[in-house]
């Protein structure tokens, strides 16, 4: 049997990041980078200004990094991890978005400024990041619901999938 490179790729464990899912992963990766960069700067430069907000910032960065990995990695366990982290993101952006908008002092912030020194990716529902943090978890959930993991060994290599790409 002669096997061309593309069909060899198709016989590997099916990955979740195919088609438009790749774009989702790319946006997640960029957001993870942005959140990690911002929180690293906040913690190194002026952690004492708003410790609660900056700890939250670092936590959100960690959640985005794990979610990015979970979307790429195959298997049922990572699928579950993806659901958990994306749920945390949605809860985070709603809770922190509401608190930072209506009661900023509760989480140690003093101004409703999405670009401010003490803001996080989730402040003001992610307004500082063009509301991407608010929209992304919803898109992620829709996408996860439509792409349930299949048994890794039971998946034959469909020739149509190899040629379609």
């Amino acid at each position: 049997m002669t096997e061309n490179p593309s069909s060899a790729a198709a016989t590997r464990a099916p990955r979740r990041m195919t088609g438009v899912g790749r774009v989702l992963v790319a946006v997640y990766g960029i957001l993870a980078l942005a959140a990690a960069g911002r929180s690293a700067y906040q913690i190194v430069d002026h952690f004492s200004v708003a410790p609660v907000a900056f700890t939250l910032s670092a936590f959100s960065a960690l959640v985005y990094i794990v979610a990015t990995v979970a979307l790429i990695a195959p298997g049922r366990l990572w699928y579950r991890v993806a659901w958990i982290t994306i749920s945390i993101e949605l809860a985070g952006v709603l809770v922190i978005g509401t608190l930072s908008t209506f009661a900023p002092s509760v989480i140690g912030m003093d101004a409703i400024d999405p670009f401010g020194e003490d803001s996080t990716v989730w402040s003001a529902y992610g307004a500082g990041y063009l509301f991407v943090p608010l929209v992304l978890p919803v898109l992620g959930m829709l996408w996860l619901a439509r792409h349930r993991p299949v048994a890794v060994s039971a998946e034959p290599a469909p020739s149509s999938a190899a040629t379609r790409a």
Binding site: G19, V20, R22, V23, A26, R38, Y41, L130
Partner: protein, 123 residues
Amino acid sequence: MIEWFTAVQVIVAVLAGLLCLVVGFIGRPPNDLTLGAVALVELLLVAQLVVTIVAPIVGNEPSGSLGEFYIYLISALLLPAAGGFWALIERTRWSTVVLGVVGLAIAVMTYRMGQIWFVQGTP
């Protein structure tokens, strides 16, 4: 940081991003045009890096935090490299869309860099 150069950079990044999104949604895999557009964006970022290393030495100081500025600039420099690498491995239309997302992300990040340099005061 030079104001007109930064403005040009934002405009080029937006145009490159939109171009890649359109070409991607038409269904084309990454080609010389889209990869070239992203390469141009990366080239301008490298030029911006040189400008912003020299600028504080010759008296053009940022009004905001230089550390925060460099976090944005270095992150922005990584994106076209990552997106381009991906585009060379995965020859599908979605890689072109990813290049478009990278272009628009860089436009936003460059705009933020401009804000840090020109607008943001030291707290």
